[in-house]
């Protein structure tokens, strides 16, 4: 499958960038609609995220005094590019044609770049609110990344491969990893909520405390790209969790015309990512924001230790499996 035209179509059209944009706008709408209905409100219409994007692109770009304009323009684009690249390695309709051993690590590092971008933006905007927000973003990153990596390390250990598509293949031959690693699944969900900076972890962008955190001085297309990055991260994050724990876009049977496998896999992918979104939205609705020092407490005491316990359990199970 190394036909360059096919690869190009995969990257740009489906399931690459165009599909990613459309799906992220749809998931963003669904997120807001579910949150609104749980709060007894109506919620926005389906075209709302697209309308927001168009509106923000059309707004004036304002440069605060003394701020480095080239960097301010470049950083949101770099963050956007990183997330879009990360999506290419996540299986959507079957194994990703760009898969290679180690692409799990690549995806995790690429997903880290938007948080760095927030920290840099906070530092470069000459604004006290942005600085505080940037520092909080960096602190939060240190707190949740360790348990997140550990929780995603456990499936890799159990499947014996560092490739996401390899883990999905392992799950097709055995069973979903969530049954072996429920603790890891819960830890991964909580850390994904922290990575996406959604309540209860929306500390860097706490509206009532520090205006908009690192995004305070961003306007126009810069804000549009950062916003788009957040929405794309939601898709990539849920797709990653669905692939690593819930079996990815695979059905247990093989259907007769081989293209039907891909279609069925895609539908399964949609269902699984929607399920992950439902859980994430419910967490967002049910809680309030906690403080950064309280997150420090909870993160290192409970979440990191739960992730360590999970990895320990996986190592034990692997050892027993090999010896038996």
């Amino acid at each position: 499958m190394t036909d360059p035209v096919f690869i190009l179509l995969y990257i740009v059209l489906f399931p690459g960038f165009i599909f990613l944009f459309v799906y992220s706008l749809f998931l963003s709408f669904l997120d807001r609609k579910i949150v609104a209905r749980m709060q007894n409100r109506v919620g926005p219409p389906f075209y709302q995220p697209f309308a927001d994007l168009v509106k923000m692109l059309a707004k004036e770009v304002i440069d605060p005094d003394g701020v480095d304009r080239a960097l301010f323009d470049a950083i949101p684009l770099v963050a956007l590019a990183a997330v879009m690249t990360a999506f290419l390695y996540v299986p959507v309709t079957g194994y990703s044609p760009l898969a290679f051993p180690g692409d799990l690590v690549v995806v995790l590092y690429l997903m880290l770049i938007p948080t760095f971008a927030l920290f840099l933006l906070g530092w470069l905007s000459r604004n006290i609110f942005s600085t505080i927000g940037g520092i909080r973003a960096a602190t939060q990153m240190f707190i949740y990344e360790v348990p997140f990596f550990l929780a995603l390390l456990a499936p890799a250990i159990m499947a014996g491969t560092w490739s996401i598509s390899g883990i999905v293949a392992w799950q097709q031959h055995n069973t979903w990893l969530v049954f072996f690693q429920p603790i890891g699944f819960v830890v991964a969900l909580i850390c994904l909520q922290a990575k996406l900076e959604r309540t209860p972890f929306d500390i860097p962008e706490a509206e009532t405390e520090i205006v908009a955190g690192p995004l305070t001085e961003l306007t126009g297309r810069r804000l549009a790209f950062i916003h788009l990055t957040t929405e794309l991260s939601l898709v990539v994050g849920s797709a990653l969790i669905a692939a690593l724990f819930l079996g990815g876009p695979m059905i247990p049977w093989t259907l007769s015309p081989s293209w039907l496998n891909e279609v069925a896999g895609f539908c399964v992918f949609l269902v699984k990512t929607l399920a992950v979104l439902l859980i994430l939205s419910s967490i967002k609705v049910a809680t309030g924001r906690i403080r950064i020092d309280q997150l420090n407490d909870i993160g290192w005491k409970y979440i990191a230790s739960a992730a360590l316990v999970q990895v320990g359990m996986v190592l034990v199970i692997n050892y027993l499996w090999v010896t038996l």
Binding site: I34, R37, M38, Q39, N40, V42, V285
Partner: protein, 119 residues
């Protein structure tokens, strides 16, 4: 987990939002809306003009034969209210002896022309 049960219950039921202007909000009878004057009842006593806190009622020329408590009066003046400056407090309605000036159930109306009047 009271929050969780409430969330799920709300997800499965209709939102409480009234989709104004497609749906109408129920307005009670006592609602203090737009000021209106019934010319046949007004006897021109100027009480409304005197009690208005915002001083938006002026008495203009308006002679008319009005019947009040069985007697025929020759009214000389009648009130004129600046519609968009009225604060809809209801004092004119409360102090009017005949009920000529009153607040309707219709929304008070908003506009930019401060001199629009109701007579």
């Amino acid at each position: 987990m009271s929050v969780l049960s409430e969330m799920i219950k709300n997800l499965l039921s209709r939102p409480v939002t009234i989709l104004y202007p497609l749906e109408q909000v129920p307005i009670p009878v006592t609602f203090r809306g737009r000021v209106a004057i019934t010319d046949e009842k007004c006897i021109g006593c100027s009480k409304c003009s005197l009690v208005c806190p915002a001083q938006v009622i002026t008495m203009i020329d308006g002679p008319r034969e009005v019947e009040f408590k069985g007697k025929n009066l020759a009214r000389k003046k009648r009130p004129q209210v600046k519609l968009y400056q009225c604060i809809r407090c209801g004092l004119c309605e409360r102090h009017c002896p005949t009920g000529a000036i009153h607040l309707e159930q219709v929304h008070g109306g908003t506009g930019t022309d401060r001199e629009v009047v109701v007579t």
